[in-house]
Amino acid sequence: MQPLTNRAKNVDRRPMTLAERAYLPAILKGMGITFSHLFKKKPTIQYPEEKRPFSQVFRGLHVLNRDEEGRERCTACGLCAVACPAEAITMEAAERQEGEENLYREEKYAAKYEINMLRCIFCGLCEEACPKDAIYLSETFAPANYDRKGFIYGKNDLLIPNPLTDREAYEQAAGGRVRQPVGSR
């Protein structure tokens, strides 16, 4: 039969030689390799005492961003939901009423916003799709849970703390990640 690539090798089916049948040399050689590793640098990281730094482009748990005045940026345009390949995002929109201008940036806002972390594959397409810089993937994991119910993240879980009232928590949640867009509309 014609091989698919020219890298195919035939299995060597000749009977073993005497040296090969003795086994011990091969076993000693293998143990030697194992033993030599005792003196090499250990790659193991002692989690949770020690933590590996996240890469700059790590895609973890989502945050829903606020603007510099503490208003929610998301306008429930649904672009993240339509971009999401896992169909993890659902939302319901409401109209901003008079007196709510300090809460929501636009005329329309997401009254409900939910990400199903069981479905999410952390691809970051929602972040890319968002025209309002409202959703970011942060440098945290979704914490483990005993229950499936714990993985439906609503607005309470996702929304970033208000930068005006709770600057510290905001900075921490942002983790140097959330950039304010230049000339934000």
Partner: protein
């Protein structure tokens, strides 16, 4: 009078059309990329067209008798064909440049707030700027704003998004028996306004929503309820004594979120099968019949191949049969989690379709 056929060549494709056909309509017979975009022309409306200049084409040969080219680009929706005319649409760089320029002009004062706009996903201006526009803007000044006008409980006007195509004015003039709105002022102050915020109380006034190519006139009963691409368009009909009763329902689950007239591939209202006239629909059908039981559903409405509305819609979908129920003698598999016990979205208790206007925070708080 015998039917005289004119030969016209558009982008090297020749068609024969009756005398008096416009270049735009001849190009629509060919279809595809050749067809110039049109923002203001609307076949069912007499006198429409000639306002927006998006349909500009180059006439490289006037006719068989007078083969001189026309010196300027012409608006194809208002120019009728001549025998032997040769037209360049996408094959002419001049036309492409002119279209990009027209898009730039149309967008000068346009807010482009598509994330908030209910028209997004079926907006002709979005398509136009995506296909023919440039990536950036050179405009650095304050965009034009208007005092808010209230057009009653059914129609929402966003004057900032209006491109002054006059389609709604023609509709109000020709379809309803009296027009209560028009275009006031000129130039960049021009606006579609009701005289002294008068309610547009006419049975057919809702059709201005369908003819509006942008999100300037939208349905208040649908406002912010969902994005169009998450709703499913199905053709449906009912017996209506005012109109043809042939509509497209935009559904989510069993809820009817929005009712529109049926549109063809050019976004124009289709001819009704029942009456043989343009299928304008009345306000009753459009705004009041928001229950699936009011309608006889015919099936999924045709969706343009490249439209975002097609997302998640699978015509001819064949569901595989449930194996588990069969092998367990009809017992249902145990659900590991009923999403409604945790999820706050799409709560069974909240029927968005039954709310008159847009939902507010209070709707979801209860």
């Amino acid at each position: 009078m015998s039917e005289q056929l004119f030969k016209v060549t558009i982008d090297n494709i020749t068609v024969e059309v009756p005398a008096g056909t416009t270049i735009l309509q001849a190009a629509r017979q060919i279809g595809g990329d050749v067809t110039p975009p049109a923002m203001c022309f609307y076949t069912p409306l007499k006198g429409s067209g000639g306002k927006c200049r998006t349909c500009l084409v180059e006439v490289s040969k006037g006719s068989e008798k007078d083969p001189r080219p026309m010196p300027k680009l012409v608006a194809s929706c208002r120019t009728t064909v001549m025998d032997g005319m040769e037209v360049k649409s996408v094959t002419s760089q001049r036309v492409l440049d002119a279209r990009a320029g027209v898009v730039e002009f149309l967008l000068i004062n346009h807010p482009l707030d598509c994330p908030i706009c209910d028209q997004a996903g079926e907006c002709h201006l979005q398509d136009l700027s995506y296909e023919h526009g440039k990536g950036g803007t050179r405009y650095e000044f304050q965009r034009r704003t208007f005092k808010k006008h209230d057009l009653g409980e059914f129609i929402q006007l966003h004057m900032t998004r209006c491109i002054l195509c006059y389609r709604c004015v023609f509709t109000a003039d020709q379809v309803t028996d009296k027009r209560a709105h028009g275009v006031l002022d000129r130039g960049d102050h021009a606006e579609i306004a009701t005289y002294i915020e008068k309610n547009l109380a006419n049975d057919f006034i809702g059709n201005v929503i369908d003819v509006c190519p942008v999100g300037a006139l939208t349905d208040k009963t649908f406002r912010f309820k969902n994005r169009v691409w998450f709703t499913k368009p199905v053709n449906a009909h009912r017996d209506c004594d005012k109109c043809c009763g042939e509509v497209t329902l935009w559904m989510r689950g069993d809820e009817v979120f929005r009712v529109t007239a049926r549109k063809d591939e050019w976004g124009e209202i289709k001819t009704s099968e029942k009456t043989g006239k343009t299928g304008w629909i009345c306000n009753d059908c459009r705004f009041e019949k928001k229950k699936a039981s009011d309608w006889t559903v015919e099936g999924l409405a045709p969706i343009a191949r490249h439209s975002v509305i097609g997302q998640g819609k699978y015509p001819g979908l064949q569901r595989p049969s449930e194996t588990i129920e069969r092998v367990l003698d009809g017992r249902k598999p145990r659900l590991l989690m009923d999403i409604h016990t945790v999820s706050e979205v799409n709560k069974p208790g909240i029927e968005l379709s039954e709310i008159k206007g847009p939902a507010t925070g209070d709707v979801f708080k209860q």
